[in-house]
Symmetry: C2
Subunit: 394 residues, 2 copies
């Protein structure tokens, strides 16, 4: 097992109806001047916006709305202006990964005088400066951002979608599974595939240990089992709760301790989202089974066999189990009623594949740090294989 | 899933040879006046004592030694005297669970003027007062105390062994698997059984969720697999590392989120240790398979079947798998070359069973809060069943 440091100070408040008794104190402990960040109108429609505004009564609340999926640097720029202008003490982010991700960079940008895209391009700049505390109310189970220090920000001007890390995780995260009841089937499926992919990026790693592998296998099973339950009954509390807590556990740093490879499928998908603005999780669901097939080899077959036995309960030789596990992954994605090819998300144009692949390899350092190193031609091939379902029992 | 709060601020420093670069800063960040706590002579024999003293050069170091296994309230009383007399800033605990457990209560006792046994009897008294920060260097994989706020303290005058909680987990925990190379086979086995039991106390809980069950199953497998590897080769780094990190993960609060039952086997074992001063983990290994058999019923068989399938890879009907899983637990304990009966640890005298059972039920609230409630007669029966291996394939 590799050496590692671990510390995570986020205070998790999981479960039903905690906002009424805990939100005010959680926010006001950091000051009176609050920037409330959120996305489109969904929290207004659901009544959550009014509920939060009521609970913050007595504090000075400023607002940044319209943070989009695949959050854009322009939202961060607007946020930077607001936190400086109003000398904000604390950010309350209400939404999914996009709102919280953008808020984390805004939290740093208060203490930075240049364009915050510089902070995204070079995370080290964020470690030298202060960061506003963030309280969040999560409304989507997917990214795990509620208990980590990462963000992913897009810049449409440069067609870039980059990951950035800050020094701090959110101070307090409210996780009420009821707030995800209204999440559409499409977004629920995409969120679950995102969780599945986070687990995959950490499971297929040469530094993973018996301890982290075992925990990841348990999280895989929880996601695989509970996603169909939620799609069948969106108000199934326990299934929503299992997805919500799995999303957090999948990416709070605990199951990645000791890992040593960079992520593979995420940087490749980020090219799809950056070029075509498709839903991140859907892109991951298309790419993942192809990537698995592509890297299956004599060297990797034992890990895939363990994945098949412990996650999918398959039996047989390593090779049989490995191949069945990849097909099972494809089948699971398909069972969630989401597209399994690029044309399914209206990407029919193959002309950007070369440029996207070059960028993915560069940004993700895929030819050096990936579990199985990939060259540009490998990534182009993955995009091409994603044009049809050939190779899978469909 | 039940509502829960989770926050754990311990900074984990896991792996080889970190002390030289990190120990001084980790300790001195809290002040200059250090109480070094440890057990018998083993850290002197191994050279760890000299190494630590060297690294603390420049700080004022006071010492409390001879903290025994099943740490006694008298050690805490001595510690209380020292932290007050020398106005200690930080405790550096070097050892296993006993040393760290005692240190946590000493950390509270600086801010308490009466006998610290009062703090053990009533944890709520510790939440109203301050607590010194603790840095620890763990030398035994077992209790998980390195990342939680609990302690177990014995009082030989009253034959009591009680759990107590404080407000804070250790500030910094150094976990170097190499420091466990010298742990005897007996203590290694006992430590692993202790981890197994912690997992069991949280797995067999009516509030456990798919997420926590899945993570626990992974931790079970890591412990089951790596303990024999360590017994065969005490210097197997990866196996020692897997046990060390499993011990921490098993009891840092993460796999217990949402649980709602009290623990069962621990309070029963505490009576054995309190009366006969036997090794805690060995007592747990004797009691656990009997307890499993005792509570197996139509109601509990599904959980035991999941335990059998996901942990022991058994197949068949629920009932068959459940029974085989209990036998597998017995077999695993026996395979570690430790006694599997009370006479094996020289407890031949049955006269205290009634009194011990009464105390266990009272202290553990077993007749109300246990996963399957136990009355005094049930506990007496568990002790009696532990006199022989009848009922198990031996």
């Amino acid at each position: 097992m590799n050496n590692f440091k671990f510390k995570n100070e986020t205070s998790i408040r999981f479960g039903k109806d905690r906002l009424e008794t805990e939100l005010y104190d959680a926010v006001s402990q950091f000051g009176n001047r609050v920037l409330l960040t959120f996305g489109g109108g969904s929290i207004k429609k659901s009544g959550l916006y009014d509920r939060v505004i009521n609970l913050l009564s007595g504090l000075e609340v400023f607002e940044l709305s319209d943070i989009e999926p695949n959050p854009k640097i322009n939202s961060v720029r607007q946020g930077q202006k607001l936190v400086k202008e109003h000398d904000i003490d604390v950010i309350l982010a209400v939404g999914g990964g996009s709102v919280i991700d953008a808020s984390k960079v805004i939290a740093s940008s208060k203490f930075y005088d240049k364009d915050p895209w510089e902070l995204v391009k070079d995370s080290s700049k964020r470690f030298g400066i202060n960061q506003l505390p963030i309280v969040d109310i999560l409304t989507l189970s997917a990214t795990g951002t509620e208990m980590n220090a990462g963000s992913v920000i897009s810049n449409p001007e440069t067609n870039q979608k980059l990951g950035t890390m800050g020094p701090n995780t959110p101070a307090v995260s409210f996780l009420d599974p009821q707030l995800t009841y209204s999440v559409s089937k499409w977004q629920t499926a995409a969120g679950s595939i995102d969780i599945f992919s986070h687990l995959t990026e950490q499971y297929f790693d040469t530094g993973a240990s018996d301890v982290t592998l075992g925990m990841i296998e348990g999280l895989y099973r929880a996601v695989i089992k509970n996603t169909p339950s939620v799609l069948a009954d969106p108000n199934n509390y326990d299934a929503r709760a299992a997805l919500m807590w799995s999303s957090t556990m999948a990416l709070n740093g605990l199951v990645s301790v000791g890992t040593q490879n960079g992520w593979t499928v995420h940087p490749i998908e980020h090219e799809l989202s950056a070029y075509y603005d498709i839903t991140h999780g859907i892109g991951l669901g298309i790419l993942t089974p192809r990537w698995m097939k592509h890297i299956l080899s004599a060297e990797t077959v034992p890990r895939f066999a363990q994945f098949g036995r412990h996650v999918w309960h398959l039996t047989g030789t390593d090779e049989v189990v490995a191949n069945q596990a990849i097909q099972a992954t494809f089948d699971w994605v398909k069972s969630l009623n989401v597209p399994t090819t690029l044309p399914g998300v209206e990407i029919n144009d193959t002309t950007h594949f070369q440029k996207m692949a070059e960028s993915a390899v560069l940004v993700g350092d895929l030819n050096h740090s990936a579990y199985v190193p990939l060259e540009v031609a490998d990534v182009v091939s993955l995009f091409e294989q994603s044009m049809t379902n050939s190779g899978f029992v469909d």
